[in-house]
């Protein structure tokens, strides 16, 4: 941590390094947002729960008759 100066106090000579740092930060921000979108898209489907066709399918396959109905 001690080798990281606050951005405001960077001398102009470090502009290239600064840019590199901000590109890396941009990369992390984008990755965080991509991760959020991916999970949001996925969870949107997960939150739909179990469609009836799948519990019906298991009921139909199960010889145990009424046991499966709930």
């Amino acid at each position: 941590m001690k080798d990281r100066k606050p951005t405001g106090s960077q001398p102009p000579m470090d502009a290239a390094a600064n840019q590199k740092k901000s590109t890396a930060k941009l990369g992390r921000d984008i990755q965080a947002k991509l991760g959020q979108q991916l999970r949001a898209m996925y969870d949107d489907v997960v939150s739909q729960g179990v469609p009836d066709r799948f519990s019906d399918l298991l009921n139909k396959l199960d010889d145990n008759g009424d046991k499966g109905k709930r």
Binding site: D43, D44, Q48, F54
Partner: protein, 183 residues
């Protein structure tokens, strides 16, 4: 066929995430649900090969993934450029994707090679570890890691090209997609 309560519960419990995984693989809700149904039928027919105490969800994901891959290969023989036609189907039938708001993200995801897409979804959304994802895909852990990294880099490129000044769902695109919906 007799289905134990515990088997029934863990199978049905895995259905929501199996559907989410299947939709991300094939990009079509109806086809994804067929894929899940075929997976359940295969799993129950082979329930004796499931080792009690191991992860039922990971086992079902493996069956679904392998089934999808063999179907995909079959389809690929019939349709040239399967990746391209998949991406195209997303653009022409946004209604099939469920919610239009993820349309742009889905399009970017659809442009990834299939092996990168499945690795990213398994690790980044399904919550599997790299080791579990490697088992599901039948490859080395290092392979999964590099696929996930390449997928992330490529997605970032695709998304930042398509949305120049603002990250996130593009309102114009969303409106156009919503408009197409009603045609």
């Amino acid at each position: 066929m007799r289905i134990d309560d515990s088997v029934r519960d863990s199978v049905l419990g895995a259905v929501p995430s199996l559907r989410a995984f299947a939709i991300s693989l094939c990009g079509n809700v109806d086809r994804a649900d067929d894929l899940v149904q075929e997976t359940l039928l295969r799993a129950l027919a082979n329930i004796n090969s499931f080792q009690p105490g191991t992860n039922m969800s990971a086992w079902l994901f493996t069956i679904l993934r392998n089934h999808f891959r063999s179907e995909y290969r079959k389809r690929r023989r019939e349709v040239e450029d399967a990746d391209g036609s998949y991406a195209e189907s997303l653009k022409s039938h946004p209604a099939q994707q469920g919610h239009v708001e993820f349309g742009e993200f889905r399009e970017a995801l659809a442009q990834l090679p299939a092996d990168q897409r499945e690795a990213l979804v398994l690790v980044g959304a399904s919550g599997f570890s790299y080791e579990e994802a490697a088992n599901i895909c039948g490859c080395a852990v290092g392979t999964i890691k590099s696929r996930v990294n390449r997928a992330r880099t490529r997605l970032a490129e695709l998304m930042s090209i398509e949305t120049t000044d603002e990250f996130g769902p593009d309102h114009t695109t969303r409106a156009v997609l919503a408009g197409n919906d009603r045609n």
